[in-house]
Symmetry: C2
Subunit: 220 residues, 2 copies
């Protein structure tokens, strides 16, 4: 996956739900016994500099900062114990914001309907630049942060993930074959909340306390 814009042709974008305990608490959700996931369409990708997130009318728009990984190898029926195969299948990373129409999602949950509309509007997936793998020696030990108008809203370590990358990739690959170029979002830490037009979100990753240039995002 050499070029960022190629991601628009990703086969699929799979997002893990409820992967940080404190985020589950803040949404009053049940803690999952196993990872569950949903899809965002590639048409929802917003590349760096491609302009604002569009808030659809009547939508309570929430941010969720998440570590994304870009798959580099075909994965099917991966054994969750095979940590090295899982990490080896990762081509690279990106930072992402899983924008969510929270009121539509809550309505869907209540009615037992799919989440796709609440997660899939155009511009609902701002991505950072691609982060090469060597910049993140341990994906379970980095800090994700997101600020809104310079106020820190999310700031947690990926150590807090309930299900780590090998388990996530294993569970997905037992349902859907993962293909090179597919994107996986790994869940959001606590601190999600609303944004309104005019707000400025900034997000990034710190490795050993040091900011990763490639991960820096500014989204209006």
């Amino acid at each position: 996956m050499s070029s960022l814009r190629q991601l628009k042709r990703a086969g699929k974008i799979i997002c893990i739900g409820r992967n940080y305990a404190d985020h589950i608490t803040e949404l009053n959700s049940a803690r999952p016994k196993q990872p569950f996931f949903f899809q965002k369409p590639t048409s929802s990708i917003l590349f760096p500099g491609d302009g604002p997130v569009i808030r659809p009318r009547g939508v309570d728009l929430h941010y969720e900062v998440e570590l994304a990984l870009i798959v580099g190898k075909r994965l099917r029926d991966l054994n969750a114990e095979n940590e090295s195969a899982a990490l080896d299948a990762i081509d690279s990373y990106a930072l992402s914001i899983d924008m969510t129409a929270r009121n539509i999602q809550n309505e869907a949950k209540k009615k037992g309907l799919p989440w796709d509309i609440s997660k899939g509007f155009d511009t609902f997936l701002p991505l950072s630049n691609i982060i090469s793998k060597d910049k993140i020696p341990d994906p379970h030990k980095i800090e994700l942060y997101l600020t809104v108008n310079d106020k820190v809203q999310q700031n947690d370590s990926t150590e807090l993930m309930l299900f780590r990358l090998p388990r996530i990739l294993s569970d997905i690959s037992k349902v859907m074959t993962l293909e090179p170029g597919d994107i996986v979002l790994t869940g959001t830490p606590k601190g999600v909340g609303p944004v309104v037009p005019g707000d400025v979100m900034r997000a990034g990753i710190r490795v050993d306390g040091k900011e990763l240039e490639e991960a820096k995002m500014e989204v209006h």
Copy 2:
């Protein structure tokens, strides 16, 4: 979209739920006031002759025969009244079977979780060959059928759709931009039910009572 196998690189596959009144009744579902939809991953596509649908262990596997359309033009914010623009944006058709892990879907509905796992296993989207547009002069006036072991299980006219193609394409395009190559499944008529390994599904389309060769499917 000249070649069938290119569909594996479709940007997205959008499926309408509950679009035939009698199917809503048979699943004890609520009648939607507007079309709702979910995604299947391109990894779930099963091309003609590519072997059986795989039933994951413990899964209550159901068939749902559906008319699929392949998008030929970019559509964003389409006006539902603009029937000619909607039909003009259709490149071609296919017959499809929206295979569903019904027990997983029912569990997801109960818990307010996404439908993606129940709809997205590998092989869960058998497709026919591509049907060129001129073979279906009126997509709202064809017969879809599906047999299991030569017993007719589904057989209804697309006249019975609650939401017709212009409305479907309009509603989707107000959430997600539709791109050339995207696939849209338009819902299933009544008669859905289980299949087990060894069963043979046959499905097809009749136009003015005449079988369409391109639409004929045989899936094991």
